[in-house]
């Protein structure tokens, strides 16, 4: 899935993905956040997560390598920090294509639930979201249910562990640390 390049508003390294959502909500961003895990640089993989927003409210998400969209993409993003974040502004019409993809769309508060579960952020997002989206898309799944679903995905957890192990070994090499 490709988006036209937006206007870069902010670029930084962050460890908590929730910060992205707060930033987009505060700015009433229409555009997207691009999150690239820092380990990508270390392990030379092309892994990028994208969350789109309209008026600060999340609309869709996708992820590359592994290829995932919607809530699965959010889970992938949630488990891949710390990140290099880019926040981009883009015309809403340029986001139409991804917003028309049912598989990429997420309920307005779902990113807040999956990326950290902060209740205040969830409430603020719901207050800002248009009523028709709350009625048709919110599925009432709570934050711990999202965590449970994550823990049921053994394959994804194994991937996290494998990546962390490679990272630890690679850093041991770099930092000259003893490895068992």
């Amino acid at each position: 899935m490709n988006l036209p390049q937006g206007r870069l508003l902010r670029q930084r390294v962050l460890s908590s993905p929730e910060t992205v959502l707060t930033g987009a909500l505060d700015r009433r961003l229409t555009g997207y956040a691009r999150l690239e895990p820092q380990e990508t640089l270390l392990l030379s993989a092309d892994r990028v997560g994208v969350v789109t927003f309209v008026d600060g409210v999340p609309v869709a998400a996708y992820h590359t390598a592994p290829d995932a969209s919607g809530t699965d993409a959010l889970t992938e993003i949630a488990s891949s920090g710390p990140y290099r974040l880019g926040l981009y502004e883009l015309e809403e019409s340029a986001l139409d294509r991804i917003h028309e993809s049912e598989s990429a769309r997420v309920p307005p508060e779902m990113p807040a639930r999956v990326l950290g579960g902060d209740q205040q952020l969830i409430e603020r997002t719901r207050q800002r979201a248009p009523n028709d989206r709350l009625e048709s898309e919110s599925n009432g799944r709570d934050s711990l249910a999202a965590v449970e679903a994550f823990l049921e995905n053994e394959q994804q957890i194994e991937a996290i562990r494998d990546r962390a192990q490679s990272e630890a070994e690679s850093r041991a090499d770099e930092w000259n640390l003893p490895v068992e």
């Binding site: 908590s16 949630a78 891949s80 449970e148 068992e180």
Partner: protein, 254 residues
């Protein structure tokens, strides 16, 4: 006997320092406990123990200016070695000297708790995990925090450090936490030691510069920490052997 635990999370905001001191106070009922602030870049322990005005801290010891004994303070039934907050102290501190500090302390205590950095992004942040016998992993029941906890576990096992257990901290929802805890158990090598509820008492204790177990010993969170230490069996290690192991640990110069 002596065993060295690193209390780590790989992520900020999980309540590592609160947990380190709570576990330390609970273990101090049965053992001589020393708590060391091993997060030399973002020291926190001193604010939780009323030691923010002390001039001699781990920074001065790691900088080679003071012996470790000068930075040990008896607080709340434990020996506490705080770290300073000045940038110059951080710059002059040689993290590799932590090995010598732990070796010296190991000769005079039963349990050493290393309050570790909230990141795995630098060599000095990872060092406590490399040096410890076992790690206590502190996570919140969120996907990012559990993922970071799993990363800490992989780093630890890669460097030959065991997993003592996992604390679910700052739990806001009672309903569902048992299911999350049960499901998480299959991926962690140590036991899930406890679920600690989010509580106002923790914030009040921090404001009062006291550990939770001193400020609100009867709170639900304090009780949960005590339960956690019931599941944490401290292993016997010969003082001399542990001290030698640390002195001889292969931690090359930066």
């Amino acid at each position: 006997m002596v065993e060295v635990f690193a209390v780590a999370s790989g992520k900020g905001g999980t309540g590592k320092t609160t947990s380190t001191l709570a576990l330390g106070m609970a273990l101090a009922d049965d053992y001589d406990v020393t708590v060391i602030d091993a997060d030399t870049g973002m020291a926190n322990l001193l604010f939780h123990t009323g030691l923010s005005d002390r001039e001699t801290t781990l920074h001065e010891v790691l900088g080679g200016d003071e012996p470790v004994e000068a930075a040990i303070y008896e607080r709340f039934g434990m020996d506490v070695i705080p770290c300073g907050t000045s940038l110059s102290g951080f710059r002059e501190a040689d993290p590799a000297r932590l090995r010598e500090v732990v070796a010296t302390v190991a000769e005079q205590t039963d349990v050493i708790l290393l309050d570790s950095a909230a990141t795995l992004g630098s060599r000095s942040a990872v060092l406590p995990i490399v040096l410890a016998d076992r790690v206590v992993i502190v996570v919140q029941p969120t996907i990012p925090a559990i993922s970071d906890g799993l990363k800490v576990q992989e780093y630890a096992t890669t460097y030959g450090t065991g997993i003592a257990g996992v604390l679910f901290n700052r739990v806001t929802q009672d309903e569902g936490i048992d299911r999350v805890s049960d499901k998480a158990q299959q991926y962690f090598e140590g036991e899930i030691l406890a679920s600690i509820p989010e509580s106002e008492e923790v914030r009040e204790a921090r404001r009062a510069s006291q550990p939770l177990l001193a400020y609100a010993p009867e709170s639900e969170a304090a009780r949960s920490y005590r339960n956690a230490t019931d599941s944490l069996t401290v292993r016997d290690g010969e003082e001399g052997t542990v001290a030698d192991r640390f002195r001889n640990a292969v931690i090359p110069e930066l």
